[in-house]
């Protein structure tokens, strides 16, 4: 394998990692605060993609400029956060915080099953493909190979901005500090009068919106069809577990690791491609049971 091929593999890996990170970051944020692994996260991703592709398609078909697709992505993400995230947290999750994690996981699994069918009822079975946003930005040629600017530049930049934005939000703003406080020690946070219910709600809405944004960003690059949510959720689980549960920066590193590993496999051993995320996860957890950036829970006696 020569140098240019290695670089091509890196480009592919980074662009893929950016998309995976967008989904995984919401999952890990929710876990950090609510201590719930949200299986329905994949459905929120899919719905974000469907919203963007269907509305975007209608907007372009009606003769409006495809540049509208970009604000539309943000709108789709906000819709997912507010219209789906908020009711899921308020009506379902809030009832089960005191219950065992098995039941919590299953509640989100049930929501996942329901949302999978809801998607089909709303959008049908035919794939949507709406890539005007991607075509708008054109191509870049590297070593004689064309890449879309959207995938090579825009996606990694958005992922990076999301990472930086989240860091600033969590450290600099009052709401962010409240979320951080609950993540670190929820009992202590409660005892100093933080309204944990509100923090939970905000976090879940934010996490859901990030899943929706991930879907919205992915939609121009792919066919949106039933089942994309299930694929994505398993992959982002792997990212989150590799990173260490609740670790936002870790999710970025793990997504990059998995993205690069996956593209390297496509170049060197295509048959191993689908195995790579899980192999990386196993290898990491074998050495560091808490994930790359997780901290071991001390047992106090």
């Amino acid at each position: 394998m020569n140098l240019s091929l290695i670089l091509l593999a890196v480009f592919d890996g980074v662009s893929y990692a950016a998309l995976v990170f967008m989904v995984a970051v919401g999952l890990t944020l929710i876990f950090g605060v609510l201590r719930i692994l949200n299986v329905a996260h994949g459905s929120l991703y899919a719905i974000g993609a469907y919203l963007t592709a269907s509305i975007g398609g209608a907007v372009v078909a009606a003769g409006y400029s495809p540049i509208l697709a970009f604000p539309l992505m943000l709108i789709a993400a906000a819709l997912v956060g507010v219209l789906l995230g908020a009711p899921i947290e308020r009506l379902l999750l809030r009832r089960i915080y005191a219950k065992s994690e098995v039941l919590q996981l299953l509640v989100t699994f049930a929501v996942f099953m329901i949302l999978e069918d809801v998607q089909r009822l709303v959008w049908g079975n035919q794939p949507y493909f709406e890539s005007s946003a991607l075509q708008l930005l054109g191509n870049i040629q590297v070593f004689g190979v064309y890449y879309t600017s959207y995938q090579l530049v825009l996606l990694p930049v958005v992922a990076l901005l999301t990472l930086i934005g989240l860091r600033l939000f969590l450290r600099r703003t009052l709401t962010g500090k409240l979320i951080t406080a609950v993540t670190e020690d929820r009992e202590a946070a409660r005892s100093i009068g933080i309204d944990a219910d509100r923090v939970y709600l905000m976090t879940f809405v934010l996490g859901a919106a990030l899943a929706g944004l991930g879907g919205a960003l992915a939609s121009p690059t792919t066919s949106v069809l039933p089942g994309i949510g299930a694929e994505m959720i398993v992959l982002s689980f792997a990212v989150v577990a590799t990173a260490g549960l609740g670790r936002i920066e870790g999710a970025a590193v793990a997504a990059l690791l998995i993205g690069l590993g996956r593209s390297a496999a496509t170049y060197a051993m295509p048959e191993l491609q689908v195995l790579v995320p899980y192999l990386i996860m196993l290898a990491v957890l074998l050495v560091r049971p808490e994930g790359l950036f997780g901290t071991p829970a001390a047992r106090k006696i």
Binding site: N139, L225, I228
Partner: protein
């Protein structure tokens, strides 16, 4: 246990008493169970085919049914998984008393259903699945196929490619990672190497079924620059792959060969560039050059378009064939037995060697292995502007009999033994 034994004893007694040749009473309805994908990725084929089945049944019933017996159709969702399919299949046969079953789209499901149908002694028409393995690895009395199989479909594409682009040197494949993707590549590559031994395979990719992203494969192919890129993918996978490849100029760089893309022409719209070699698993095309202008074809295409909003694709045509074969089989069986309602054995006898016509050239069902022999239509895309999507030009229609594996032979062995002069020997009908 006791009731069961008694029950089978009664059935046996009835069967013996009436005798196989004796006429049966006409039933109130001819019950047909149709397995098709209503959910999951393959519903891109399954749902239009279901719509077609409903249309066809209504049409037949409006004309008084088959010999006065109306059709009654129930559907099974193949997308609910193998267990649900077999359970529901049994329920339809054993409880609802389905007279004949059409099943199904997925080759895996066909492999599972064929022995079950044999056990249940119900006639099963494999109305869409393409695996050649069913009849090459098993021998069934009750199972028939009303269309061709993967070998003929792939062979036609190889021949078209070799006739139109004889000088290419390298090929790469991007197929879905499941039986169809693997089997079709086995047949295609074996046939290609037999007829053009100097060809070099420079990349074999089998991304997961339903993969949302092919960016890495496309980068890899862009760097490798194969002369020909083959993909037997379909549905969302094919659309994604073609769109992503077109966006990044790969379709300009290599000759694309997409044997199933007839089913995606409309869905891909303007994204499918000119010059791509396209097939449709048989001679299936909404503007079939030999059929356009015939009254039945034109009215079917336009009423299907009106009913569903889309042009018919090959799964729709396959459904038509299943119904046409049904009508023809009943007609023949009743002619044989003097006009009374046929029993299963008479119907099976009628299906064997049956000739019927769907929306293409006539199809025959071979007596030896119950395999359908069907013509193959291959063409090259052109964005002519007549439709908001690509249509076909430079079409060739291959006669099915020459391309179908002889009865009792294994497809891979048979295509592997072909020689380069086979390309010249086969003379398809050509169209502009």
């Amino acid at each position: 246990m006791l009731t069961r034994t008694l029950l089978s004893a009664t059935i046996l007694a009835t069967a013996l008493g009436t005798g196989a040749a004796q006429a049966q009473d006409k039933p109130d309805a001819l019950k047909i169970g149709v397995a098709t994908f209503l959910t999951g990725p393959a519903s891109v084929f399954g749902v239009p085919a279901r719509d077609a089945a409903q249309m066809l049944a209504e049409e037949i019933n409006a004309e008084g049914g088959i010999a006065g017996v109306p059709l009654e159709i129930s559907f099974i969702d193949e997308g609910a998984g193998g267990e649900a399919l077999t359970t529901e299949y049994r329920r339809l046969v054993e409880e609802e008393g389905a007279d004949i079953m059409f099943s199904g789209i997925s080759s895996g499901n066909c492999m599972q259903i064929a022995p079950l149908a044999e056990d249940l002694e119900v006639i099963n028409i494999m109305w869409d699945c393409g695996t050649q393995r069913v009849f090459e690895e098993g021998d069934y009395d009750y199972v028939f196929r009303t269309q061709s199989h993967a070998t003929a479909e792939m062979l036609a594409v190889v021949l078209y490619l070799l006739k139109t682009q004889p000088d290419f040197e390298t090929i790469a494949v991007v197929n879905q990672d499941y039986a169809w993707g693997r089997d079709s590549w086995d047949i295609f590559s074996t046939a290609l190497k037999a007829m053009k031994p100097d060809v070099e395979v420079v990349g074999e990719f089998f991304p997961a079924f339903g993969a949302p992203d092919f960016s890495t494969e496309i980068s890899r192919l862009s760097a490798t620059r194969p002369d020909v890129i083959l993909s037997t993918s379909w549905g969302g996978d094919l659309n994604t792959f073609v769109q992503q490849a077109a966006q990044r100029g790969l379709t300009q760089q290599s000759q694309f060969v997409l044997p199933l893309a007839e089913s995606s022409l409309e869905a891909l719209g303007p994204a499918l560039p000119d010059g791509v070699i396209v097939g449709g698993r048989g001679d299936h095309y909404f503007a079939h050059p030999e059929m356009v202008g015939t009254e039945r074809f034109d009215s079917f295409v336009s009423s299907f378009k009106e009913e569903t909003g889309a042009y018919p694709i090959y799964s729709v045509f396959h459904m038509v064939q299943a119904f046409e074969a049904l009508k023809a089989a009943y007609a023949e069986a009743m002619e044989e037995n003097g006009g009374s309602w046929p029993n299963d054995q008479e119907l099976i006898a009628a299906y064997e060697g049956l000739e019927f016509q769907g929306m293409g050239r006539p199809v025959t069902i071979r007596e030896g292995d119950h395999q359908g022999v069907e013509a193959q239509l291959i063409g090259t895309t052109v964005q002519s502007g007549d439709y908001p999507f690509a249509t076909l030009e430079n079409m060739m229609i291959f006669d099915g009999a020459e391309l179908t594996t002889p009865v009792g032979e294994s497809s891979i062995d048979w295509v592997g033994a072909l020689s380069p002069d086979f390309v010249e020997k086969i003379e398809p009908t050509t169209f502009d």
